[in-house]
């Protein structure tokens, strides 16, 4: 009877319930291991690699293979420096992990160190050389603010995306800035999986099946790395930013914010000292100045004031007499040229950057009309740009002041707004967009950095037209031509003389301090006598070639002194480089984009 009981129980377990228990046994036995996909590369419009994956030479320790891990570390210390903190971390990891699990001991080894470890392996019991993948930015600082960087996974990232198994892989990196952040999901790819048989302690017995997953997509940017390198070199000693755009498509050819940082260092975590040096640097290397640096546009704004005036029906031929002073209410407004410009029409006012003329225009047009045009031309807004952290800036109006300050508008504020001072704040990217929209005849292009994703060209819907008469824009364009190419123009000295490459620009100097009455009487101090942080910001916007505009450029040198003296020459050099590269660019535009992802890294897996 008792044996019948045993038999029937066995029947129940082994015959009736066998499917259920077989499945449970399989779950016990089979473990899925994720295989990290290869992160997609980032390349410029010609396929120059801007971000790729580099082999990371490292050493791992398998503690069950050494009688004494401490002794092995002592011996390793002769090849690689092991600080007491690192040693503590290693010993803690070893204590925590199962004895057969490899623990990372040293990473990012040089080839020499790696070779030495290989040669000395018999003496380094339990130590194994190993090759992993790590993100690599060959251009380092030159693209730090565009391509961005990746960092190890932090708790925040896990909280944001708790279901992504990849984040739990040791050594996995996530994009934290720039293109790396914007396209993180596309660059990341899909995890592969390897099904392995494990024993009760988790030791792998054998591999049952493997699926290598899908590498991340390659991102082709609109940048031209040759121009980028040149621009970075040209601005390397300044705290500056520059944006070069195609005026018809919005493609960003070059995007510079200097100084910058080394994105490679975020891979492993920036050193505390090095990071503190970045934080303490007055040139603010961590700030992405092209989108997050806000400056009064200064005289570069005069084009907008002009368009607003033309829209209001003001005759551009009509002249205003500049005596260097403009009395309004109980206040006297000054022109930058103390002795005055005499009688100037719109063309001459732009060319000479006469302040009095634009005070007068602004007064007649009114702030709200100016603000509307400024908004139409891209100021005071963000563009959903691929680089995160755009700032809106400020385009002041009566409503804005009421909302932001709770105060009424003063007429005097309209006057200084007319010359791009006062509440106005713009980013270099916005200034580039404004210039592009002036140069392209009023098409509301938006800046973009992406040309293709995973081999597919990014299609942009045609930009809408701004409600302006192209004739008005022509007047402003001519004025800017005068600035650069007519003797007496504020940037005449910084013109391009090569035929066919001529640019048309507008200088700007944004005051960062208040000039007192006493100082003005005694003569306004020259910028180069002031300490750096009190000097004016130097701005320059331009488009080229004049005959058939193709590119717009904006450039801001923080505390550079004056637009004509500091910004215009640098802008001229960069624009010339852009135009010289134009031939190459047009050839490439006719070829389909290639997906280069993974081609030279197939070996890297495993």
């Amino acid at each position: 009877m008792a044996f019948t009981l045993l038999g029937s129980r066995m029947y129940y377990l082994q015959i009736s319930k066998t499917d259920e228990y077989t499945m449970l046994a399989e779950e016990n036995r089979v473990n899925m291991r994720l295989i990290a996909p290869l992160r997609g590369r980032v390349v410029d419009r010609y396929g120059t690699v801007l971000a790729s994956n580099r082999q990371n030479y490292r050493a791992v320790m398998i503690s069950e293979q050494t009688p004494n891990p401490e002794e092995t570390l002592d011996r390793l210390a002769r090849i690689v420096e092991i600080t007491p903190e690192v040693r503590k971390r290693i010993m803690r990891d070893i204590a925590r992990a199962p004895r057969f699990m490899p623990v990372t001991v040293a990473e990012n080894l040089t080839w020499e160190q790696f070779a030495q470890i290989n040669v000395n392996q018999p003496d380094l019991a339990g130590l194994q050389p190993d090759v992993g993948e790590t993100r690599y930015y060959p251009y380092s600082t030159e693209l730090a603010h565009v391509v961005g960087y990746v960092t190890p996974v932090y708790q925040r990232d896990l909280d944001k995306d708790p279901d992504e198994p990849l984040l739990k892989l040791p050594g996995f990196r996530v994009g934290k800035s720039g293109i790396e952040q914007y396209y993180d999901d596309k660059l990341r790819g899909q995890a592969g999986a390897s099904h392995v048989e494990v024993n009760a302690y988790g030791r792998v017995i054998r591999e049952l099946s493997k699926n290598t997953g899908k590498p991340g997509k390659e991102i082709v940017l609109t940048l031209d790395m040759e121009v980028q390198k040149f621009a970075c070199e040209r601005l390397k000693d300044e705290s500056a930013s520059a944006v070069v755009m195609d005026i018809h498509t919005g493609e960003v050819i070059s995007y510079v914010s200097t100084p910058a940082f080394d994105p490679n260092q975020f891979n492993t975590g920036y050193g505390v000292k090095a990071y503190k040096a970045l934080l303490d640097n007055p040139y603010l290397p961590l700030t992405n100045k092209a989108i997050a640096g806000l400056y009064p546009p200064g005289s570069t704004f005069k084009g907008i004031t002009s368009i607003a005036a033309l829209k209001a029906g003001i005759d551009p031929k009509q002249t205003v007499r500049c005596t260097g002073k403009y009395a309004f209410g109980n206040h006297v407004f000054h022109c930058w040229k103390k002795e005055g410009h005499g009688s100037v029409n719109m063309h001459e006012a732009i060319k000479h950057s006469c302040d009095i003329y634009f005070y007068d225009l602004a007064r007649r047009v009114g702030i709200d009309n100016i603000a509307a045009v400024a908004k139409d031309f891209g100021l005071g807004q963000t563009y959903d740009f691929e680089v995160q952290g755009e700032k809106e800036g400020i385009v002041p109006s009566r409503a804005w002041k009421e909302a932001a300050r709770g105060e009424g508008w003063h007429q005097g504020e309209t006057l200084i707004s007319g010359i791009g001072q006062g509440f106005l704040l713009t980013s270099p990217l916005q200034l580039a967009v404004m210039t592009a929209r002036i140069a392209n005849g009023g098409m509301a292009v938006k800046p973009r950095l992406t040309r293709a994703i995973g081999g597919e060209m990014v299609q942009m819907p045609p930009a809408p037209m701004i409600d302006v008469d192209p004739e008005w824009l022509k007047i402003v364009q001519d004025g800017m031509n005068g600035v650069s190419n007519e003797p007496g123009g504020t940037a005449y000295r910084s013109r391009i003389t090569e035929p066919g490459y001529e640019l048309a620009g507008k200088t700007g100097s944004a005051q960062v301090r208040r000039i007192t009455m006493a100082e003005r009487d005694g003569g306004v101090r020259k910028n180069d006598t002031l300490e750096w942080r009190l000097r004016d910001h130097a701005l320059f916007i331009c488009f080229a070639p004049v005959a058939k505009p193709q590119y717009a450029l904006s450039l801001v040198i923080e505390h550079g002194g004056s637009g004509s003296g500091a910004a215009a020459p640098a802008a001229r050099d960069i624009m010339l480089k852009v135009l010289q590269r134009n031939v190459v660019r047009e050839q490439a535009a006719n070829e389909p984009a290639h997906d280069h992802s993974g081609h030279d890294h197939e070996e890297g897996l495993g």
Binding site: F3, G7, R9, N28, E197, N199
Partner: protein, 382 residues
């Protein structure tokens, strides 16, 4: 007094005894033990070391002991029943005293040359002593209270010592074995009912005295999924192993649960699970069938014995053997809480194997000397 020639020479010659020896029975238990060897070979990933080879040597030694014990007259065994019991009791007590200093379960006594598990010795000695005691009582005297005090003490004292070690499984087995002899001797039913009630009443007291791990086993038995990675792990993995074995099993040395170490204690307490996983329902049933044959034989011996001592002893051995098998099998199937009871002849273990073979020797002695007259009241040789 213990002159062996007096018993072996007077009634039967050795050669006669060897003819009487039931070689079919030996073949039967060899078959069972061989299944154990195969499983131990498989556990070691296809190697005779460390378990299979040693188990085979022990079994061979056990067969020698069994034949030797079987050759000796049943009356001699009756005469040494009390002294043996005394020695076993002393050993069990010694373990408790020595073990007092040790940690956790102390069941082993290191005699210098052999690691002895005295509770295993006690299993045989208790059967002998009780059989001898009841042998001297007429059936109508068995149920008298004053006649029950001594045998009750003979059971309770070692059980108490063994449980104290702590070894609950052996304690239960000793109680059951003792109870069997009481039953076979013809103790009135009412005593079993009374003691059953007494046990129920004692449960709260026993519960108080149980170690945490023992209480956990009971909890786990009641709800194995309660703590699948902790206390419930053994029984859950065992059921998975059995269930995934199916009708014909995963094949010799192919049991993933056992080979990948998900199954705990697979060379000892859970060896039946491993058989079920690798050889399936068919293999497990075949082993149970062999056990049933063994039990049938032992009960037959008891029925054929013409003396009371042999009847009681062989029935005690038969029923104890049955409970070993039943408790172990029921445990791994999740029908009983996990108690440390090995599968006889199959599980790896030295003392258990030798004491079982000794008991089978006694059983065979009972069988060979089944027609020997043994006077009631006192031993013929005392």
């Amino acid at each position: 007094m213990f002159d062996l020639t007096r018993f072996t020479g007077r009634d039967m010659k050795i050669s006669e005894k060897l003819v009487e020896f039931n070689w079919g029975f030996l073949l039967l238990i060899t078959a069972i033990a061989s299944i154990g060897f195969a499983m131990l070979y498989s556990v070691a990933d296809g190697s005779f070391s460390p378990w299979a080879s040693r188990q085979m040597i022990r079994f061979a030694a056990g067969v020698g002991i069994m034949i030797f014990v079987a050759m000796i007259d049943i009356r001699f065994w009756m005469s040494v029943a009390y002294p043996l019991y005394g020695i076993a009791l002393a050993l069990v007590t010694a373990v408790d005293i020595v073990g007092f200093k040790g940690m956790g379960a102390q069941r082993w006594l290191d005699l210098g040359f052999i690691q002895l598990q005295p509770s295993e010795v006690m299993k045989v000695a208790l059967l002998l002593a009780l059989a001898r005691y009841f042998h001297g009582l007429a059936l109508e005297d068995v149920s008298r209270i004053r006649n029950l005090i001594v045998p009750l003490l003979m059971v309770v004292v070692p059980v108490g010592l063994v449980v104290e070690q702590p070894d609950l499984g052996t304690g239960i087995l000793l109680t059951i074995s003792g109870g069997t002899i009481f039953f076979a001797a013809g103790l009135a039913w009412r005593y079993f009912i009374i003691s059953g009630l007494a046990v129920l009443g004692a449960i709260p007291i026993i519960w108080e005295r149980l170690h945490d791990y023992q209480r956990n086993r009971v909890f786990t038995f009641l709800d194995p999924e309660r703590d699948p990675l902790g206390a419930g792990y053994h029984i859950l993995q065992s059921k998975i192993a059995l269930g995934s074995g199916g009708l014909f099993g995963k094949g010799f040395m192919e049991g993933t649960q056992a080979q990948l170490n998900f199954l705990p204690e697979k060379q000892t307490d859970f060896i039946f699970t491993m058989l079920g996983e690798e050889m399936g329902f068919a293999g497990a049933m075949f082993l149970l069938f062999l056990y049933a044959l063994t039990l049938t034989f032992a009960i037959n011996v008891s029925l054929q014995c013409r003396n009371q001592f042999g009847r009681l002893l062989s029935l005690g051995i038969a029923v104890s053997f049955f409970f070993y098998v039943f408790i172990n099998a029921a445990m791994v199937m999740g029908l009983l809480p996990v108690v440390g009871v090995p599968m006889p002849l199959v599980s790896y273990g030295g003392t258990a194997m030798l004491s079982l073979m000794f008991a089978f020797g006694l059983l065979m002695s009972c069988y060979i000397h089944r027609n020997v007259e043994v006077t009631r009241g006192s031993s013929a040789f005392s």
